[in-house]
Symmetry: C2
Subunit: 346 residues, 2 copies
């Protein structure tokens, strides 16, 4: 019989609330014969304040013994900026070699967008997750003086770029429109830009059916608000991917519905699934957070583990729920979770 | 009697067409007693193909002997990506220490925006122009092999950050709302991020009337499309500024009306004014380009040189022209330039 051994990291702020709904929907959607085992991990601000630890080797060992990880949100104003981001979130992505950061953007019927004219939006961003300006390479001299110099080094390797570009081409090949856009800034960041562009063009030869285009990241932000329907699959570097996926989320229904997967395609390490939004301390504990992004992240998780019908059922349930919201009073985090659980079970 | 000694760089693609209109409006707006002298410089793709040169020391010497520079656009698909950008545009910004890259965004009445609900948009981005990931620092080893490693080094100095942050505070102080947002990614790029944040907080003490906020660049893209009215003045690094000013242009009327100044506040070197848009080779020579962005760049140029009433007259003329476009057939580049020249003279 089948089983899912899931590591759960509720985290900070609204993380707890949304993850509870994600798990509720997960339990409701799984067939009887699938055994779901979950283990909670208390990472984030509380743990940091109590012990000074963010993510230890022992933690990584414990997490590694799971099929996948579901994360709510990590981050709190009481912790200096960067400590939990670098010490937990990025440390985990790097340790588990999550090099494919998958972020779908789909504007569902009935969902509000800040864009006029309700454009058709249905694309997926494949963001590199283990290189670029995120490596933590760099440093500071003469800190705090008027002669301070601080550097950040973006590190890009043919190995790292090729594997994520190949993943993106395969995804584009599998979609009806078969389009792939590379987003970079190769006219200014010429060293990294040429590496990305050359690798992209080389891998393109193996995928003759995929239509490709190149776009500078600044121009891409224009197209994301004026012609978002032009995108099908996008592949891009870690930092550009961070920036454009927030914009993509904003135009396609907001971060309340933006899901993501930090994927290790080889399966050597468990992949991690999390909403794109943060811990939103301003609304934490009030039942105001929309759990849809977490629930959609559970769908990505199920698809990754091979439960395609269940993933699709969750996505359909969220779409139906969103469509019915129009003109209705706001519901609590739990009410939305309950409604989704009923839908996926039914 | 007063005089303006202007270096003109029409450049590539639509650069020629839009600069001609910019100069037309400049001549029309200047009082009789101001002597305008212009000198054309043929930089860009033609020169590069003919001589292999992009910008020589002699060129810089010649440019230096002017009060200001007006540039159309540089760039052509026939030149490899990066050659003219790094060899001309960025070389000039760095050589003339254009550390304040000023980019106003104002959604004028009657102007179309991709955003629903016609929000109020009136902010200015102060983008650092001589540091960050734009320094060209970095390199490549094992180029073209499967073991290639390419790096890009973002270089940030207290000196460089403080002068641009101070400039932004002064601008915020002079505006009615007196608000300044720092945009960075200090939770990931912790070395540069902490430098920017510390300098920002230190300079803030000298401007107690200015309300400040900090925002990550990814979150900023969300606010730019959901709450653009929240921004007054933004200060940010070179690369983040590049990205968010294209997005800002897109939401506030498009790159057809986005002006910019590359300013050397000390006056040691001439400042350069240019539209945010590129050379648009696809529509070059067809009279389709909107010269408004160049004309508005001329207004920034005049303001920089102390011709405030003339700058305001140009801005009013463009606003009036844009408001009257609604429902009218499209006009040519020259027709728009003629109309603006008549307005500013009248
Ligand atoms: C919190 C931060 C480290 C993270 C990132 O920059 O990747 C977040 O913005 C995201 O997009 O997942
Ligand atoms: C053409 C390029 C070098 C330039 C930049 O990145 O600064 C452009 O995008 C701009 O914003 O002026």
């Amino acid at each position: 019989s089948r089983s899912i051994n899931l590591a759960v990291i509720p985290g900070d702020g609204i993380g707890q609330e949304v993850v509870a709904q994600g798990l509720k929907v997960l339990s409701a959607v799984l067939p009887q014969d699938v055994k779901l085992e979950t283990k909670d991990f208390d990472f984030g601000a509380r743990r940091y304040h109590a012990t000074g630890e963010t993510l230890t080797e022992a933690d990584l060992d414990a997490l590694k013994r799971h099929d996948a990880i579901l994360l709510g949100a990590i981050g709190d104003p009481s912790v200096p900026s960067g400590v939990l981001e670098r010490g937990f979130l990025l440390k985990l992505r790097f340790a588990f070699d999550h090099h494919v950061n998958l972020r779908p953007s789909k504007l569902l019927p009935g969902v509000a967008t800040p864009l006029a004219g309700q454009p058709e939006i249905d694309f997926v961003v494949v963001r590199e997750g283990t290189e670029g300006p995120y490596t933590g390479n760099g440093g500071t001299i003469r800190k705090g003086t008027e002669h301070e110099v601080a550097t950040e080094v973006s590190v890009n390797t043919a190995f790292g770029v090729e594997r994520v570009v190949r993943d993106a081409f395969a995804r584009a090949q599998a979609r009806p429109r078969k389009k792939l856009a590379l987003i970079h800034k190769n006219n200014v960041l010429t060293f990294a830009g040429h590496l990305w562009t050359n690798v992209f063009n080389k891998v393109a030869e193996e995928f003759p059916e995929v239509t490709t285009e190149y776009m500078h990241v600044d121009a891409a932000t224009i197209y994301l608000v004026t012609q978002p329907e032009r995108f099908d699959v996008i592949v891009t570097d870690n930092l550009f991917g961070d920036i454009i996926t927030d914009l993509a989320a904003a135009v396609s229904g907001g971060i309340g519905v933006a899901a993501s997967g930090n994927i290790n395609p080889s399966g050597e390490f468990p992949s991690m699934f999390e909403p794109v939004h943060g811990s939103a301390p301003d609304i934490a504990g009030q039942g105001k957070a929309d759990p849809s992004a977490t629930v959609l992240s559970v769908a990505l998780l199920l698809r990754h583990l091979g439960y395609e019908p269940e993933a699709a059922r969750i996505e359909d349930a969220v779409a139906a729920d969103l469509a019915e919201r129009v003109g209705q009073p706001a519901r609590s985090t739990e009410e939305i979770g309950d409604a989704l659980a009923v839908r996926v079970a039914g």
